[in-house]
């Protein structure tokens, strides 16, 4: 499996948050698909050399958000994608990233068209979707 979690110390992002972010990104970019297995809490803790409680905390949040599902005795799997947020909530979650993107684009002198094209390219590359449709 081409999914390799990496954490870094000395960041203002806590380690449990880094794990959550990376699993979410891997799911979003289809590097992790429904049914793919993740390492157990203990195995991942040993692999990353972090406290198992930290991994458990990350998995608990991912499970609560419907990203992963734990099957007793079988392990941790990527769950079927289902919309668990309202459209308003989805928008609220996307807003900060949009702010960053647009701020940088303006500062660096990109036009709206430039940004749209770039977003489309990235969508194709990451999510394997065309033209930014969902």
């Amino acid at each position: 499996m081409a999914f390799d979690l990496r954490i870094s110390t000395g960041s203002s992002t806590p380690i449990f948050r880094q794990i959550i972010d990376q699993v979410r990104l891997a799911v979003a970019t289809a590097r992790l698909k429904e049914g793919d297995a993740l390492a157990s809490v203990r195995a991942l803790a040993e692999q990353l050399v972090v406290n198992p409680n930290t991994v458990a905390k990350a998995y608990a949040e991912l499970a609560r958000d419907g990203v992963i599902a734990t099957h007793q005795g079988k392990g941790v799997f990527i769950a079927a994608r289902r919309p668990i947020y309202t459209s308003a909530e989805r928008l609220r979650r996307l807003e900060p990233a949009l702010d960053d993107l647009v701020r940088e684009a303006i500062a660096l002198g990109f036009s709206t068209d430039d940004v749209q094209k770039l977003v489309q390219t990235h969508f194709r590359k990451m999510a394997g979707r065309k033209d930014g449709e969902s």
Binding site: T9, G10, S11, S12, T13, P14, I15, F16, V41, R42, A45, E46, L48, V49, V50, N51, P52, N53, A56, K57
Partner: protein
């Protein structure tokens, strides 16, 4: 039995006129990995020795595994593992002799655990302790402390003077043998990366006093930095941990900034940013002046 493996109530210790530990109170719940941080001479070792009943406090008291520190019965002592600073070992004994010697004291000695740690550090049973490297000595000390499968492990600066490989090996052993279970660990260290990796809870001692006691992630998310223009006057904000001048700006580290305080700073044009654990800890250790409201004793920080 109490859910708290360690409880300290106003522990205080003087050496002559000098106060080494000043009114320290905290509780460590079962299964918690707690990191005790502080500068050299801040009282970490003295505190640990009092908790273990090896040193009598001038005032205050503590319990460990439900027993008064000064009256721990042998049965309970057998459930505590302790690695003193510098990993002291009898230098004339071989690694194998040390294990044979130590195992006699512990009815719960697990030779498989001992073997796995000794192998992890690639140690040979016939080597004399006196000719081991610092990292190897650390490995033996850890194996001797962990083989009895203690409920509580107290490690006094286990990574002191170790190379990165040995340091990592120690973390791996701690996670492998202790992590995620009911085992409680109290360790003192200066290695912030290690703290980030393994600690659940952070206790910070500064000049003999406990200045922060919180879950690690709570500390990270509740300590923030505000950067304001130097020309503006020094703000009076609740929870101020430290201030630092840098170029033309004033950097304020604030714990548990309330809305009023943070709002006032932001209204004055301050930039707000998150801090790393290392920034937060250094802020606590380099502050001066009176005791300030911090995350110490915060209920939100309880495990």
């Amino acid at each position: 039995m109490s859910d708290y493996v360690i409880q300290a109530n106003g522990l205080t210790r003087y050496f002559g006129q000098k106060c080494a530990v000043d009114q320290v109170s905290f509780r460590i719940p079962r299964g918690c990995i707690a990191a005790l941080l502080g500068r050299n001479g801040s009282g970490k070792t003295t505190l640990m020795r009092m908790l273990l009943g090896m040193l009598e406090p001038t005032r205050g008291s503590s319990t460990i595994l439900g027993h008064q520190s000064l009256a721990i019965p042998p049965e309970a002592r057998g459930r505590i593992g302790y690695v003193a600073e510098g990993h002291p070992l009898y230098p004339w004994m071989t690694v194998g002799q040390l294990a044979a010697h130590q195992s006699r004291f512990y009815p719960t000695w697990n030779n498989t655990v001992y073997r796995s740690i000794v192998d992890h550090f690639q140690l040979n049973d016939s080597t004399r302790a006196g000719s081991l490297s610092r990292g190897q000595r650390a490995g033996v000390a850890l194996a001797l402390a962990l083989a009895p499968e203690p409920e509580l492990l107290v490690l006094d600066d286990p990574s002191l003077g170790l190379d990165p490989v040995a340091r990592r090996a120690i973390l791996e052993v701690i996670i492998n043998v202790c992590g995620g279970g009911d085992r409680t660990i109290l360790l003192s260290t200066h290695e912030m990366q290690d703290v980030e990796r393994i600690a659940d809870r952070v206790l910070i001692l500064d000049q003999s006093q406990l200045v922060a006691d919180a879950e690690k992630d709570y500390l990270l998310s509740h300590v923030q930095e505000f950067i304001i223009d130097n020309t503006k006057q020094n703000p009076d904000i609740r929870g101020l941990v430290s201030t630092r001048n840098q170029g033309n700006s004033l950097h304020l580290i604030v714990a548990n900034a309330d809305e009023a305080g943070a709002g006032a700073l932001l209204a004055a044009g301050a930039q707000q940013s998150d801090v790393t654990l290392e920034d937060a800890v250094i802020a606590y250790l380099s502050r001066r002046g009176s005791a300030l409201a911090g995350p110490a004793g915060q209920e939100g920080g309880a495990a």
